[in-house]
């Protein structure tokens, strides 16, 4: 844990103890200044001078290549949950969207929509989580915005981050490159984030040791690219593995076969899904990726993944085939086959 951010978090929490966000913090006047220069700027390390309307970024020295840009909005209940918070999600989610496009993540923006009444200590906690996640991922938060809405008009805090990264010349990842025969590599066990969030809401009267898997993946992606021919990568987030596998199948107009027995699922997640009648293949993750790689490079790439903590439990879980174009078929642990379709609506717990 970074000492500076941690010290800053503690000092600010003492200073702002017991205070809450009110409409004045978004009104553009003195109170907003106090919040931005007194809380946000120090946590994000924006102390180099007066704040301007736009960040100006040097791109010289990045070499030949292309710019990658992405944006994502983060809404989650509760704001803090075992293993991570909305702050970690807001940084790592955007970092991972850049990473899986083959980009080195560089800069992020941070836009906050706060609900009147939000405890400023909670806000400080979440911004400190963002600062730490950004440091861990090696990106800088360089610009942002704050808005406050009346009580009842937002669920505590919504965060939007945009990110830019640099794709070095020669790196070309995309669904268009998926070939028949490609192997599908999953970077680790499924379902921890989705299960941890549902349990953290406290409606299920379930207890568990499950933690969100939220983590940046750009280091893992780089190791994979260095190890061999990678064709496409997606981070496995909302909608789970089932959704990403379907995006691969439909986008490439090829078939996908997943080997259920090879898909790593923690025992606790299995039990959680059984109790509620949920399918782990649709549960959300925040630190996992699925890659399609050239068959002859699969072993080397798998070894490179397993050598890193984010990919310790990586596995080959399937392959790309010419049959059943556009569809995902799961070979069950029983040797039978079933179609895995895209999820319709939200997964709802079964009645009994």
């Amino acid at each position: 844990m970074n000492q500076t951010v941690e010290q800053c978090r503690k000092a600010l929490q003492q200073q702002w103890a017991g205070q809450r966000i009110h409409l004045g913090h978004g009104a553009g006047g003195k109170q907003m200044d106090e919040l931005i220069s007194g809380v946000i700027a120090p946590l994000f390390g924006m102390t180099g001078g007066p704040l301007e309307d736009a960040a100006r970024l040097d791109v010289a020295g990045l070499g030949p290549g292309r710019l990658a840009m992405t944006t994502d909005g983060y809404v989650v209940t509760p704001l803090q949950f075992p293993g991570a918070s909305i702050g970690h999600l807001a940084v790592n989610g955007t970092v991972n969207d850049l990473a899986v496009s083959g980009a080195q993540p560089l800069y992020l923006s941070c836009s906050l929509i706060m609900e009147e009444g939000l405890a400023i200590e909670t806000l400080i906690d979440i911004l400190a989580d963002m600062a730490q996640a950004a440091q861990q991922a090696g990106v800088q938060i360089v610009t942002g915005d704050t808005k406050v809405v009346e009580r009842g008009h937002a669920d505590g805090l919504f965060i939007t981050t945009a990110g830019v990264g640099w794709i070095a010349q020669g790196v070309d990842l995309g669904i268009h490159r998926i070939q028949p025969g490609d192997r599908l590599l999953l970077s680790g066990p499924l379902g921890e984030h989705g299960a941890a969030i549902l349990i953290a809401r406290g409606e299920l009267a379930l207890e568990s040791d499950l933690h969100s898997d939220c983590q940046p993946l750009h280091g893992l992606v780089k190791a994979m690219l260095d190890a061999g021919e990678v064709h496409a990568i997606r981070d496995v987030t909302r909608g789970g593995l089932g959704s990403v596998a379907n995006e691969f199948a439909q986008g490439s107009n090829l078939g996908i076969v997943l080997d259920e027995a090879a898909i790593p699922v923690p025992e606790e997640v299995h039990g959680f899904c059984d109790v509620l009648g949920l399918d782990v293949l649709y549960l959300a993750n925040e630190g996992k990726l699925l890659a399609a790689v050239a068959a002859d490079a699969a072993d080397a790439i798998l070894a490179a993944m397993r050598a890193r903590p984010e990919g310790e439990q990586a596995a080959v879980i399937g392959e790309v085939v010419e049959d059943h174009a556009g569809r995902v078929v799961v070979r069950t642990t029983f040797g039978s086959h079933r179609i895995l379709d895209k999820l319709v609506g939200e997964q709802l717990p079964r009645i009994c």
């Binding site: 409606e203 299920l204 009267a205 027995a261 025992e267 299995h270 039990g271 009648g277 399918d279 049959d323 059943h324 556009g326 569809r327 078929v329 069950t332 642990t333 029983f334 040797g335 039978s336 086959h337 079933r338 179609i339 379709d341 319709v344 609506g345 709802l348 717990p349 079964r350 009645i351 009994c352």
Partner: protein
């Protein structure tokens, strides 16, 4: 014992499948082929498709997917009643998750929620009671549905509301009971089943005795089964063995959970709160005598049917939908004219497409050997 490992062992399943394949050859020729076994319970339907068990069995055996998905057999008029309550200003309407998507004649509860109704998903009726305590100025309605499996927890909640004097709580009771429904199906002339896979969780409450008439009067075997894939495979083996030996008996494969006499405390709670209705309307099956329960007069104060003025309209299923034939096993889901075209999980017309326990949704989501992949693809892209 490790349920995940021991009851989901693929190699064991293959072994049982081979044993079934050998045994089925000895079934007397007087039985029509393929042998048809109905799994009454939606939980079994889900497991069969989730694990592709139908593909492991020899061609001489097929599953017929029964009416045991409580969400799937809800008539549209009941959903309309729910919506009419949910849309009142002072009501918090609570329900189990997958009931939210069942289509009414105008909208589902999920759509009513989007339109502004206060509809909340709960995991237990006791959560609804808690909401009633927390919101004394609101009327909290719990939509009670399901077979004997969910009945005891609803009954206990009503008892608790009465004990604690929580008067802003009421139950919209649509619980149903399985025995009259099995009997109605056995009496149906187009039904030719060779045996039943009996519901596991229902039997945990009611025990195995109430099924005796199936063996004694209708000469059909029934095996009460657990929900793990090996449970179901073993139950099929037990059914085939009965046919080979010319027996028709009620057997209990799920004896690690199901006692012969059921659960006395649960039955007492059910009996205290509920009584049989003269008849209950099932989607696809029509009206079946004594197949539903209502609240007894002494609990009238907590009965939503008495508290609210409900439309109680009977809405016929759309003409083209063949839900009834599918529920009775006369048609396979994909043989229905609407399957995969007008009726999909996104836009369900029949309720069998709504819950993942519904036979149609299971066929759609999990595919099946009996429908080649190409056929599924074609039927969905028309």
């Amino acid at each position: 014992m490790d349920i995940v490992r021991d009851f989901r062992d693929g190699a064991q399943a293959q072994k049982i499948a081979r044993a079934i394949g050998e045994l089925v050859k000895q079934v007397p020729d007087s039985h029509r082929r393929p042998l048809q076994f109905m799994e009454v319970c939606g939980g079994h339907t889900h497991s069969i498709f989730r694990y592709g068990l139908n593909q492991l069995l020899p061609d001489e055996i097929e599953f017929v997917h029964g009416p045991g998905c409580p969400v799937c057999v809800l008539p549209m008029g009941v959903v309309d009643d729910c919506v009419s309550m949910a849309e009142r200003d002072n009501v918090i309407f609570t329900t189990f998750g997958d009931a939210m998507r069942v289509p009414g004649s105008e909208k589902s509860l999920l759509q009513a929620k989007a339109d502004g109704a206060d509809v909340r998903m709960v995991y237990s009726p006791l959560d609804a009671l808690k909401l009633a305590q927390q919101n004394p100025d609101k009327e909290v309605v719990f939509f009670g549905l399901g077979f004997e499996t969910t009945m005891p927890s609803t009954a206990l909640t009503v008892q608790k509301a009465a004990q604690m004097g929580i008067n802003n709580f009421s139950l919209f009771c649509n619980h149903i009971t399985i025995i009259p429904t099995i009997k109605a199906m056995l009496d149906s002339p187009d039904m030719q089943l060779d045996g039943f896979i009996g519901p596991g969780h229902v039997s945990m409450i009611i025990g195995t005795r109430p099924y005796r008439f199936i063996a004694e009067d209708y000469k059909r075997p029934l095996v009460v089964a657990g929900f793990e894939p090996l449970d179901i495979m073993q139950s099929v083996y037990m059914l085939v063995k009965q046919l080979v030996e010319g027996r028709a008996e009620i057997e209990n494969q799920y004896n690690r959970i199901v006692p012969e006499a059921g659960n006395r405390h649960a039955l007492m709670a059910i009996n205290d709160v509920f009584e049989l209705r003269p008849y209950f309307e099932w989607r696809g099956l029509g009206s079946i005598d004594h197949s539903g329960v209502q609240m007894r007069e002494k609990y009238a104060q907590w009965d939503a049917e008495k508290k609210f003025d409900l439309p109680r309209r009977k809405i016929a299923d759309p003409d083209a939908a063949q839900c009834g034939e599918v529920v009775k096993g006369v048609l396979k889901p994909h043989q229905c004219k609407l399957f995969g075209t007008a009726c999909t999980p996104e836009t369900p017309i029949g309720a069998l497409m709504v819950s993942s326990e519904g036979a149609c949704a299971a066929y759609y989501n999990y595919g099946s050997v009996q429908i080649p992949v190409s056929e599924v693809t074609r039927s969905r892209t028309i």
